[in-house]
Each structure stands twice: as structure tokens, then as C-alpha cells.
């Protein structure tokens, strides 16, 4: 059951090398946690909360 690739798991990851390469756009987006934070707050704030509350605000008041 000893698999030949077991020890490889222990080896340090090889991703230090890719630093020289150009980082793909998607990866740099995913690595930018504060940009993600902005997206994650802005999207629901606009599409859910603000849009929703505006609709409620537009309901005419009964008199």
C-alpha cells in the first residue's frame, strides 16, 4: 500500500517557482482579500439592502 507518491506530499510545495511567472488575473483577484471584501459587502448592500429599502420607501403612505 506504500504509494510511491507518498513522500512527495511532505515535500515543500513548488509554488514558490511560479512567482516568476505572470500571475493569472483570476488568481490575483482571489489573492486580494480586501478587494473581495469590498465586492462581498458592496454587491448585497446595493442589490439587496438598498434596492429593497428603496422599494419600501416608495410605498405611498395611507391617509
Amino acid at each position: 500500500m506504500a504509494e510511491p507518491d507518498q513522500p512527495e506530499e511532505q515535500a515543500p510545495s513548488t509554488d514558490t517557482e511560479d512567482h516568476a511567472e505572470k500571475i493569472p488575473a483570476m488568481q490575483s483577484l482571489l489573492d486580494n482579500h480586501f478587494l473581495l471584501l469590498f465586492i462581498g459587502v458592496a454587491v448585497p448592500a446595493v442589490l439587496y439592502t438598498i434596492w429593497g429599502v428603496m422599494e419600501v420607501a416608495h410605498i405611498p403612505i395611507a391617509n
Partner: protein
């Protein structure tokens, strides 16, 4: 910074920051205490809704229901999530935790808030359910407790982001953060919006309860409150998925099939998951169908896509790993020979399956505007979310706790047989409460209702006898789930207090994790194989059930509203 603050974990090889470890312990222990309290209230509620027993009088029923919702859904889950955030940042990134002092301040703020809200509920003047819809008014310290808790949580989330910054500056990791940490980032991002929504609506409500604000608009309250109430469930989903990946890695050495795809699925959560909050308002007047349909159908389906990716990726990763581990023949040998006797693995896998089949499918049904009307405000709703948040999240958190005790508390588990049985017991009970409440809901039984027999109501109404039977079965499942919950607490608290200490030498000889898997969770790398016939069949079964159940519900809707 002094190296005295760190130890190296003999099993995972990770550098463990002492203050981070202490904070993880404190938050996890308090979480479990609230699970115990809240779970007991849940049992009382279920035994009251079992009409043959009808345990509590009406006022205590609503008190218990409020305490149950707040203690399990808010306090148990969020304390545990804070522990997970510290783990996924400081420990997985080999880094020191940013400002442990402030993290302790956050902890005590959260604790004070949680205790205050509990006191308010137990005093009996705040039986407003944890949703606390206005114009029902609770005691001011109920709202204040929730606000303190929210502020404490926000501070804890800031400590998490601070730790990410430190890790980057001090270069304690290279490239992108590990997938589990990325899942935690997703949870933390969702948490920021969640807590902000909670604070925005609860602060004016608190001022209203002390008489400083004249009135709170009910519809606005519901919109903003659900930005908190629903989104906090999405913190759970993100955190629970991160747990799945972590436990799969640590128990069988599973690596994600594709890091890229898994990360993209988390991105879908960040962009779309929160919009689905609108499903709570599908029958509210005054809000347009455009808003409802955009935020539920379109956005919700994209978010569900994210969950389906994870739901396939986790078993797929396990399958690839198990095939590598020597169980390569046949279609399901990898699954049959999985470590079912390891409570961490068993709890995780049950959580994946139950979350998908019970919580996931039914969530899509309820999120469809037209179908929602069949089950709105019936017991179907709690049935659904006991599938997500009990069978899914709670079971996932329990499963990772079986690794936290030996690795972080460094104690051997006591009562190992009971521990092995526990995930099955709790999973079975949770499945029962989910399925039977949904069945009763399908028969029309309303949620949050003390007396389904309407004995002293001015108008009489009879539910079909099957509905009463469902509530009986629900009560029995509640007992099973409670036994599972108590077993969990006995094993975990017992082990922390009385378990054999695991010093480094002992830990090296008796590892609890898959060999080499410390590096798997803390680094990146794909599994490097797409041979997953077993998972493909599981996924096909899932889709088939999904489609069938979806159409059954449309059929059902057409019978509710016959066109002739």
C-alpha cells in the same frame, strides 16, 4: 518576536502560536456550552410540539423557542466560527495571531452579550423569537446583548483579517493562502456584511425599546434583519465547507480535485450567496417581484452552483485520495473502506450528504417564488434548516472537534466507542427532525405554534391525523438527536478534562491524522486525477432526486390552485 510563543505540532509539522491556541480553546469551549443549553431548549420545544406530550405551557414554549434559536443558531455557531477563523489564519499560515489582547476583548464582549441576551430571555419579557420582528418588543437588554455580541464578533473578524496581513508581511506562507484558509476568508467576508446588517437594524430597535425612537418600520426591519439572519447562515455554509476540506485532508489525505474550481465556487459565494436573503420576504407585500425574483432565483442559483461544486468536489477528493490509498478497484470500494470508525471522517461525510439531500434540495424549492407559497411559515421551514444548520453545519463542526481535541487541546479522546457512535446517532436524529418537520409542513402545520390542535381557539381546525403522527416522529427524532448531542458533549468535555495528555512523543507514536496531511491542509495542490466514477454516480443520484422533487412540488402547487 519570541519563539517561546510557538510550539511545533508533532503531527502536522505546523507552527502553533500559543496565544492563538488559547483563544481557539476558549471560543470552542464556550461554543459547546451554548450548544448544550440551546440543544436542551430544542428538546423541550420538540416535546411540546409532540401533541401527545405537549410538555410546556404556551408562555414557556415561546420562551424556550426564543432561547433555542438564539443559543444554537447564533451563539453556538458563531463562537465556533471565531475559533475556526483563528485556526485557519494563525495556525494554517504558521503565523502569530494579530493582537491577542484585542481578540480576548472580543471574546469577553461576545460572552457578555450572549449571557445578557440569555438572561433577558429567561426573565420572560423577551419571548420574541430570535428574529425579534417589530412591533413585538423585547426587554432592552435583549437587544443590547445581541448588539454587544455582534460588535465582539466584528472585532474578532478584524483580528482574523489583521492576521492575514501579518502573515503576508512576515511571509509565513508563499503564493495563495491554502484552500481552507480561503474558505475562512469567504466566511469572514460574509460575516462583515452580516454583522453590519445586524447592528444597523438592532441599534435603532434597541433605542426604540428604551423609548428614544418612535417607531420602527416593520418591512424595513424585515429586509435589513434578514440581511443579518440569512447571511449568518451563509457564514455557516462557507465555514462548514472549509471544515469539509480540512477534515477530508486530515483523515484520508484528500486534496481538492481542482483548487481553481473550488476557489471559484467560494467566489460565487462572495458575490451571490447573500442576495438569497430575499427568500424570507417572498410573500411580503410592498416589495416588487423584480427584487424578489432577481435576488432569489438568479442570484440564489449561482450561489447554489457554488455549493454543488463543493458538494461534488469533497467526495471526489476523498475518492481520489482513497484510490491512491490502495482502494482502487471497483466503483465504491473507496467509500466502503473509508474510515467510518473515525468520528471526524464519519461526521464530515454525513454532513456532506445530509446537507445536500435534506438542506440543499429543499432550499432551492423554498427559494422559488411560486413554490414558496405552498410552505411559507409552515414547519417545512424549520425542517429545511435543521437539514442545513444541524445535519450540515453542526455535524461538520462536531466532526472537526474530534481533531481539535487531540491536536489543539492535546488530549486523547475518552469513551472512544461512544465517540465512534456519536456522529451516526446525531446524524440520524437530525435527519429525523428535518424530514418529519418537513413532512408536517407539507401537510400545512405552521411553525412557531404552541397548539396544533387549536383546543381553545374560537374557530376549530383539524390537521390530518398524519400531521400529528409526523410531530410524534419528530419528537422521537429529537430525543435521538439530543442523545447524540449529549454524547458529543460528554466525550469532548470529558476528554478535555480527563483525557490522557498527548505529549510530543506520544503524539508521534499515536497520530490521529493521515500521514503527511498537515502539509496537505496548509499548502496547495490538486489531487491530480479525475478518475471519480463513484462520485459521478453519487452526483447523478443527487441530480435525479433534485429534479424529481422539484417537479413534484410544481405538481403539488398546481393542485393547490386548480385552474378550471
Amino acid at each position: 518576536m519570541s519563539n517561546l510563543m510557538f510550539r511545533t505540532c508533532p503531527e502536522t509539522g505546523l507552527k502553533v502560536h500559543g496565544p492563538a491556541e488559547a483563544l481557539i480553546k476558549a471560543n470552542a469551549v464556550v461554543a459547546v456550552v451554548f450548544l448544550l443549553i440551546g440543544g436542551l431548549f430544542g428538546l423541550l420545544v420538540a416535546l411540546t410540539r409532540w401533541q401527545a406530550i405537549h410538555l410546556l405551557p404556551a408562555d414557556l414554549f415561546y420562551l424556550a423557542l426564543t432561547a433555542h434559536g438564539a443559543d444554537v443558531l447564533v451563539f453556538w455557531i458563531i463562537f465556533f466560527e471565531v475559533a475556526l477563523l483563528y485556526f485557519a489564519s494563525a495556525i494554517l499560515l504558521n503565523c502569530r495571531l494579530a493582537t491577542p489582547r484585542i481578540a480576548w476583548a472580543a471574546f469577553f464582549l461576545m460572552l457578555a452579550g450572549a449571557v445578557m441576551a440569555n438572561v433577558a430571555v429567561l426573565q420572560g419579557e423577551s419571548s420574541v423569537m430570535f428574529t425579534s420582528y417589530v412591533p413585538m418588543k423585547a426587554a432592552p437588554h435583549f437587544y443590547l446583548g445581541l448588539i454587544l455580541f455582534a460588535v465582539g464578533t466584528l472585532v474578532a473578524v478584524a483580528v482574523f483579517f489583521g492576521t492575514l496581513v501579518i502573515a503576508k508581511q512576515e511571509k509565513t506562507y508563499s503564493g495563495s493562502v491554502p484552500l481552507v484558509t480561503f474558505g475562512a476568508v469567504t466566511a469572514a467576508i460574509i460575516a462583515v456584511y452580516t454583522i453590519a446588517s445586524g447592528a444597523i437594524i438592532l441599534i435603532p430597535t434597541f433605542l426604540w425599546s428604551v423609548g428614544l425612537v418612535g417607531e420602527i418600520d416593520t418591512l424595513t426591519y424585515r429586509i435589513v434583519w434578514w440581511g443579518f439572519g440569512h447571511s449568518s447562515q451563509q457564514i455557516n455554509v462557507a465555514a462548514q465547507v472549509a471544515c469539509w476540506y480540512a477534515v477530508a485532508a486530515l483523515t484520508v489525505g484528500a486534496k481538492p480535485i481542482s483548487e481553481k474550481v473550488s476557489r471559484f465556487a467560494f467566489l460565487l459565494y462572495i458575490c451571490f450567496l447573500l442576495l438569497a436573503s430575499a427568500h424570507h420576504l417572498l410573500v411580503d407585500p410592498g416589495i416588487s417581484s423584480e427584487w424578489k425574483v432577481f435576488n432569489t432565483s438568479y442570484a440564489l442559483f449561482l450561489a447554489v452552483l457554488g455549493s454543488m461544486i463543493h458538494g461534488m468536489s469533497v467526495p471526489g477528493a476523498i475518492e481520489v485520495a482513497q484510490r491512491k490509498n490502495g482502494f482502487a478497484h471497483g466503483v465504491f470500494t473507496w467509500l466502503r473502506k473509508a474510515p467510518w470508525g473515525n468520528p471526524a471522517f464519519a461526521g464530515m461525510f454525513l454532513s456532506v450528504i445530509l446537507f445536500g439531500f435534506l438542506g440543499g434540495i429543499t432550499g432551492v424549492i423554498m427559494g422559488t417564488e411560486q413554490l414558496n407559497i405552498i410552505i411559507h411559515n409552515t414547519l417545512y421551514v424549520p425542517g429545511h434548516f435543521h437539514g442545513t444548520v444541524v445535519a450540515g453545519t453542526t455535524l461538520a463542526f462536531m466532526s472537526i472537534t474530534y481533531l481539535v481535541v487531540p491536536l489543539i487541546f492535546r488530549r486523547e479522546l475518552i469513551f472512544k466507542r461512544l465517540a465512534q457512535l456519536q456522529p451516526y446517532l446525531f446524524g440520524l436524529g437530525a435527519m429525523g427532525i428535518s424530514v418529519f418537520m418537513m413532512a408536517a409542513g407539507t401537510l400545512g402545520v405552521s411553525r412557531r405554534h404552541w397548539d396544533m390542535a387549536f383546543s381553545d381557539a374560537p374557530f376549530s381546525f383539524d390537521y390530518p391525523p398524519a400531521a400529528f403522527m409526523m410531530m410524534g416522529l419528530n419528537g422521537m427524532s429529537a430525543i435521538v438527536a439530543s442523545l447524540g448531542g449529549v454524547a458529543f458533549i460528554v466525550v469532548i468535555v470529558g476528554s478535555i478534562l480527563f483525557g490522557k495528555k498527548r505529549d510530543d512523543a506520544f503524539a508521534k507514536e499515536n497520530p490521529v491524522i493521515f500521514q503527511g496531511s498537515g502539509a496537505t491542509v496548509a499548502h496547495h495542490g490538486d489531487a491530480g486525477s479525475l478518475k471519480i466514477p463513484g462520485t459521478t454516480i453519487l452526483v447523478a443520484v443527487f441530480f435525479l432526486s433534485f429534479v424529481l422533487y422539484y417537479f413534484v412540488n410544481w405538481k403539488y402547487l398546481s393542485e393547490v390552485w386548480p385552474l378550471s
